[in-house]
Amino acid sequence: MGNPWIAIGALALVGLLIPVGMMVISKLLRPSVPEQGKRSTYESGEIPTGDTRIRFNIQYYMVALLFVIFDIETVLIFPWTVIYRSALENGVGLTRTLGPMLVFIGVLVVGLGWAWRNGAVKWVRSPRAEKRKDAR
């Protein structure tokens, strides 16, 4: 049995070479007809107004912060799920296998509930949109 990570590395190499190969084939096949106006940014056929890279409300930065917390938490759940069953079969009691994880998940659920109550997990409307909604 060879080292599986060498095989995964080999597939990663192949996985990159396939798209690169397609790019090379296309490079050989495709024409190049530079023309005035062809390269302008698409904006439904209009001449683009303003820049794209402006200050912009991305609406979900609180959600992104929450994601970091929950993502780390899933990483911590992984090893627990692997040993859970064999620990039970070896006679370790439920209080010592399931109990601590219930407390851990409980803390996180309380945290999610707090975030929920404070409106962190919703699509934030811009002040202008809020005003429009109130005016209606």
């Binding site: 080292n3 597939l11 798209p19 302008s40 993502d71 899933t74 692997v82 069953r85 997990v121 919703k122």
Partner: protein, 347 residues
């Protein structure tokens, strides 16, 4: 035995020597990669059109070749020979790398998927964790494509793609690990092996203990979260053709567009392969060889995504976030805890 080991044995290479094993693994990867590309080539230009046409009562591609199958060749030549238009003010390295990441990252996941007895490039101990990790790499490509294009639609599409992946990644992984509670391992081949036992026998036919039957609640949750992960209806807001043109791929043409499109389809099949492995018993099945069962199962999941595409309306982005964080996340926690209690009671 993995496919890499088998090939090393056939070629008389020493599997313990890193370089020799690498050569064998390259050959195995090329086989698996080509196999998946053939699937995508059939799915993208042909099957998708045929399925959508059947759902909407139309006739699709039927002019070239039997059942219009030659459209696959025609489309490949047509798209690869298109002129590549590079829009003004794109961020060049990022704009070029994004299609590579999207198409490549989806292929990486197939390294650990068992596609038949012994048809598996590698079988590491942390297979399931690895496949979840590489499957979410694509979101980097999406946000790169969205930002680098210097197009407002692309920007919105990229941001929506991130919001969606943030919301559905955790339910997906939490539901996935609830299977590990039964199997007690992350190694893909062992998860498949754990599903071969007979669950119940009805009228002399043994129902295998696929985790879709053992824990149907987790299966449904995973199917829904997977639809969101691969960005299909009803969760296709990042592309939403009626709202933001084509989302992050608005400014891509020629081979770059092909790669984005290809990457999405490989991703759908990767999602299908993960579902097949952890819920549908992997490549096991009666009579037919493993690889055929694997194909049947991943195509069944593909058909499901196409059915959802034709049948379900798109949810709004704010609804999507709320379904993810308030619905799916809570349900996946409930599923995890309940599964743990059930396993605790049985064991």
């Amino acid at each position: 035995m993995t496919l890499s080991d088998t090939i090393a044995g056939l070629l008389g290479l020493n599997a313990n020597d890193p370089l020799q094993f690498f050569i064998a693994a390259i050959i195995a990867s090329a086989i698996v990669g080509t196999f998946m590309l053939v699937n995508v080539a059939i799915a993208g230009p042909w099957a998708k059109r045929k399925i959508t046409a059947a759902f909407t009562d139309r006739i699709a591609v039927n002019r070239i070749g039997p059942f219009g199958l030659m459209i696959i060749v025609a489309d490949a030549v047509r798209l690869l020979s298109k002129e590549l238009i590079v829009p003004e003010k794109v961020d060049r390295p990022a704009w070029d790398l994004a299609p590579l990441i999207i198409a490549g990252s989806a292929l990486f996941g197939f390294a650990v998927i068992p596609m038949g007895s012994g048809v598996q490039v590698a079988d590491p101990e942390v297979g399931l964790a690895y496949v979840f990790a590489v499957a979410s790499l694509a979101s980097i490509g999406l946000v790169m494509a969205g930002y680098a294009s210097n197009n407002k639609y692309s920007m919105l599409g990229g941001l929506r793609a991130v919001a969606q992946n943030l919301a559905y990644e955790i339910p997906l992984v939490l539901t996935g690990v609830s299977v590990v509670l039964f199997a007690g391992t992350l190694r893909m081949s062992e998860i498949v092996a754990a599903q071969t036992e007979t669950l119940v026998t009805i009228a002399g036919i043994g129902i295998p203990s696929w985790y879709a039957f053992v824990n149907p609640f987790a299966f449904v949750l995973f199917l829904v979260a997977n639809l969101a992960e691969v960005g299909r209806n009803p969760f296709d807001t990042p592309e939403a053709p009626t709202e933001i043109v084509a989302g992050y791929q608005t400014e891509y043409s020629s081979v770059y567009f092909v790669l984005m499109y290809l990457g999405e389809f490989i991703h759908i099949f990767l999602g299908g392969a993960i579902i097949t492995t952890i819920f549908l018993g992997g490549p096991t099945g009666p009579v037919l060889p493993g690889i055929v069962w694997f194909l049947i199962k991943i195509w069944a999941v593909f058909l499901f995504t196409q059915w959802a595409r034709s049948a379900l309306p798109r949810v709004r982005i704010d609804q999507l976030i709320e379904i993810g964080w308030k619905g799916m996340l809570v349900l996946s926690f409930a599923n995890l805890v309940l599964t743990a209690i059930i396993v605790g009671v049985i064991a």
